[in-house]
């Protein structure tokens, strides 16, 4: 690794030297290929310094190989089978179970709300109010608060003006369909966030007990 204040040339030189020492160390262990071994041996034939280094490295390696390992101070055999870690941290496991159930409940609620929205409430929202109600709600007034009779109404509307889109757009607000849909959207969003957060927490808690074993 390049050190502070080190020139690029110096760093490259050190890198080459490191590589050279590594090669000699591997040579002592007999780990070089035939080609590399031949190269190192040519170097050894040409350099006293290289020969001394190899001799010293070999002496160190032999000394270390001959050094006995420390005896174990006692037997590490287990007197009993330890409890699996899955049973040991009870608090974690209980917390995990609770979180899993909460996640499942949130997902279930999300499914119910979404299904209801698609099957029921969405259907209501597209329902056309009964013709009578619309007629009553939008029957033009005669000016004195009473409703005009049908013959007069007919003369006030052209056929284009009584097309359903014009009549249906206004009451959708008046009848509260938009507000219901917004509430469901919010409910769905909240449940999605809740289920996501709980699911994530469950995963984290599930992963935690496994760490010490690795």
């Amino acid at each position: 690794m390049k050190e502070r204040g080190d020139t690029v040339l110096g760093w490259l030189k050190r890198l080459t030297q490191d590589n050279y020492h590594e090669r000699l160390s591997e040579y002592v262990d007999g780990r070089l290929s035939a080609t590399e071994t031949a190269k190192v041996e040519a170097q050894l034939a040409a350099s006293d310094e290289a020969r001394t280094e190899v001799a010293e490295l070999r002496a160190v390696a032999d000394l270390l190989h001959g050094t006995p390992m420390v005896e174990a101070p006692r037997s590490f055999a287990l007197s009993h089978a330890p409890l699996p870690l899955a049973h040991a941290p009870r608090q974690h496991r209980q917390g995990l179970r609770g979180l899993s159930m909460a996640t499942a409940a949130a997902v279930l609620a999300l499914v119910v709300v979404t299904s209801a929205d698609i099957a029921g409430l969405a259907g209501d929202a597209t329902d056309t109010p009964t013709t009578g109600a619309v007629e009553t709600a939008f029957a033009p007034e005669a000016g004195d608060g009473t409703l005009m009779d049908a013959s007069k109404q007919e003369s006030l509307f052209t056929p284009a003006e009584v097309q359903p889109p014009v009549i249906q757009e206004a009451p959708s607000n008046d009848l509260g369909f938009v507000e219901e849909s917004t509430v469901i959207d919010w409910l769905r969003l909240s449940l999605s966030i809740l289920a996501g957060a709980l699911g994530l927490a469950t995963l984290v808690l599930f992963w935690m007990p496994a760490r010490p074993l690795t």
């Binding site: 590594e22 160390s25 001799a55 002496a59 000394l63 174990a72 037997s75 055999a77 287990l78």
Partner: protein, 211 residues
């Protein structure tokens, strides 16, 4: 097909994988046979990382407990490497632990004159034992002065006789890193141990010719 019935001598003879297979089936004696077989390597590894006999003892024991719990995840390969990786991880946890106390280093331990006599070979005469003990103490004291990463690789390769690949697996570093740490560690030891190598006549004299 069930596994064959085994007696204690059979456990001593059995191959690691057969023992592990039995241990995975709930045979504690088989697991303990594995422990007995590899505990010396495990303890030496822990000692080379922690440099504290007491902490190394605890870490080794905890490592074997962890290995027992995790053995369901062992799916072949080199069992010794797998066990030693667990012990090495346990030692790293100990090193990171804020409660770790460094009041009993191996350096201090060796300087105290090997109080437990753990390196002594009973087959040697008292004189030989004293000489061997001195050499061993010097080597371990020199090792204790190496940076931790170099000491660990030297311990695995040169003291425990593992190949580079196994050392790389246990320490979770690349083969290139193993080579580099081994080379640097040996280079430092070459300087520190030169006096005893010269005394023992293991070094060639400067006037010795090539070949």
């Amino acid at each position: 097909m069930g596994l064959p019935i085994m007696t204690t001598p059979d456990y001593n003879e059995a191959d690691d994988h057969l023992l592990m297979q039995r241990a995975q089936g709930g045979d504690l004696a088989a697991f303990n046979a594995i422990v007995e077989r590899h505990q010396k390597h495990a303890y030496n590894l822990a000692l080379s990382i922690l440099r504290d006999p007491s902490a190394a003892e605890d870490a080794t024991q905890e490592g074997f407990f962890s290995a027992y719990r995790a053995m369901g995840r062992f799916n072949g390969g080199n069992l010794r490497s797998w066990l030693l990786t667990i012990v090495a991880n346990r030692c790293r946890d100990v090193l990171r632990s804020p409660q770790r106390k460094r009041n009993s280093s191996l350096e201090a331990f060796t300087e105290a004159g090997d109080p437990g006599g753990i390196w002594r070979d009973p087959s040697h005469t008292p004189e030989e034992a004293a000489l061997q003990n001195e050499t061993v103490n010097t080597v371990h004291a020199a090792l204790a002065k190496l940076p931790e990463d170099q000491r660990l690789i030297i311990s695995l390769v040169d003291l425990q006789g593992m190949d580079y690949e196994e050392a790389a697996r246990i320490t979770n570093v690349s083969l290139g890193t193993v080579k580099s740490r081994l080379s640097r560690g040996r280079d430092r030891l070459r300087t520190v141990l030169r006096p005893i190598l010269e005394l023992s006549g293991d070094l060639p004299r400067p006037d010795e010719g090539k070949g």
